[in-house]
Amino acid sequence: MAERCAVIGVGQTHHKAKRDDVSIAGLVREAAKMALADADLTWSDIDAVVIGKAPDMFEGNMMPEIYLAPALGAVGKPMFRVHTAGSVGGSTALVAAHLVSSGIHKRVLTVAYEKQSDSDAMWALSVPQPFAAPLLAGAGGYFAPHIRAYMRRSGAPDHIGRMVAVKDRKNAMRNPYAHLHLADIDMKMVEDSMMLWDPLRYLEACPSSDGAAAMVLAAEDALSGAYPPAWVHGMAMRSEPTMFAGRDQINPQAGRDCSADVYAQAGVTDPRAQFDCAEVYVPFSWYEPMWLENLGFCELGDGWKLTESGATAFDGDIPWNPSGGVLSSNPIGASGMLRFLEVAMQVRGQAGEHQVEGARLALGQAYGGGSQFFAMWVVGSDRP
């Protein structure tokens, strides 16, 4: 039987366009030290280290766990590297959590990062491949047609994407670690920003960030730290192929299956009512209404109505991305872990100005690839 697992320490860097004050090792160490301090632990208390990041070509450092081992106190310990595309930050946390829930380790440090300023993600995503159509468009160009298809299918009006862009940036004003702090953000400012990939405007897209996230996960008999633990109530991963005839890229089956699995583990039957908040991977504005439907927070076709009603706003009944989300900070490899980490902060009551009052149960979600890789966890303040 699986052992109980809890988050007992969290840490993240100040996310910025360029963290040229630190090396990659310095960046990950900054987040890791903060997580250790939060858990009131030192390096020697950690049994194993699990690290994740998006493609190695984003920094030009192959299998970076080899280089980062001493910076993360992993010498003499098991060190593990996960890579599952954009969902990697979430998957990395799940691999670390399984090391605890399987009973193999008592305390595991998990870290995810990206130092995008060391390279150019757009370039690294667009390397020509034999027998493959050159996209040369990065992620936004890939997802824009999916968004168009969603708008057509649901009848959503144009302004929904802009609403999400404004809402998440307003939330980020409450989060001192967020990359973007756009104090004057409003619908007009988003509408006036440059069109990147129709229908996505510049301010409807995530930034390119340097940053890292870290968590300490612990078994029930190894809890520590000043804040209460965030108990893991459910965790799941699902993958589906990139392309085949009939695949629904707008509402992927893998996302539906993954949430069904994690809800069953956590005893969640009505996500909108039962969760107090959610941190969901929304790198482009329209993915909020799309994932609202995919994650079962509303009926199919109604996601945009939920956003429009203000339900997902900070003062709504189900705040989504109170931290500002991926739209406000996007160190790609860490973006998924930040979702998982932020919900842990919420149920531990340590989210400061972006604390959702009384949050006790929350969903963290990350996705990657061509909307085909999903990682999710449910954390709560009650022991499962």
Binding site: A69, S102, T242
Partner: protein, 359 residues
Amino acid sequence: MSATARVVRPVSVASFAQSQNVRRDDERNEVEGLMPVIAEVFGNIGITKDDVDFICSGSTDYLIGGPFSFVMALDAVGVWPPRSESHVEMDGAWALYEAWVLLQEGEIDAALVYSFGRSSLGDLNEILTLQLDPYYEAPLWPDIVSLSALQAQAMIDAGTATEADFAAVASRSRRDALANPKAQVRKDVPPEVLLQDDYVVAPLRRHALPPVTDGAAAIVLAAGDKATAWSERPVWITGFDHRMETHALGARDLTTSPSTARAAEVAGVASGKVDVAELHAPFAHQEQILVEALGLDDSVVINPSGGALAANPIMSAGLIRIGEAAERIRSGRADRAVAHATSGPCLQQNLVCVLEGGA
């Protein structure tokens, strides 16, 4: 350590398959190279992908020179309906570790693990340099053969080995590979002839280097009823651990492998007689370091498959060690085996898996 107190759930290496290991596979892409391997690993035990609960793979983008090489590789399995699936940017032996961890929880009973890589697509010696510290080491381009030569020279300087020892390992490995139809370099050349090779980087002569190999491998892990149903003689994983060393080469004693020794201790290598060991020692001199770290005596058969000196498909060579060791047990030629995988320059990270035959 917490690991010692835990009761290990028996997990069996139920099936193993590997591609023909070749210098250059120009005919097929990664998916096409993997498909027959996946078909074989399921076909061996008469199951399909629907019989496994989890999938985990190991690969590196730097071989193909593009991001997300593992994404399309999933098409070799066909993950529809969607599956619980993960990927490590590590040798497949670590993908197998991740799957083994999940099986330990007792909620799933079977997993598919695979890995792949075409080393021939680029200059592997240069590519592996990109594993080094990107600020202080990689820009100087110390290639992996040169770093391994430093390690071999350290052994000679310490008086623990000679060039003749390296040649003996290379000679034996490639002679043993004559019995392994999947191996790439299979020949019977005596050590004294090998010692006439020129140096590539002194003190390493050509024979002490691994071949450049394109290849793929897969394993099915099973627990509970599936383990006994899928195999007349299950091969149980009875100990499993991996450990990391520092990246600073100057801070390591390159003639020893404390990470292997620690992993062997946690995995319980010494708790029984070892019949056979499959060691992932890409360079001939590394075998001796590993044998000493694992505490193996002269009675242990080392690398009967020919090891990484006979075929070194990057990202699969470690997983293949586990598969080869398991097959020795399944076929009745051994009762207890040690399999090992390595990552990083000069054996920086090491994994040890202990396998035992069941009734």
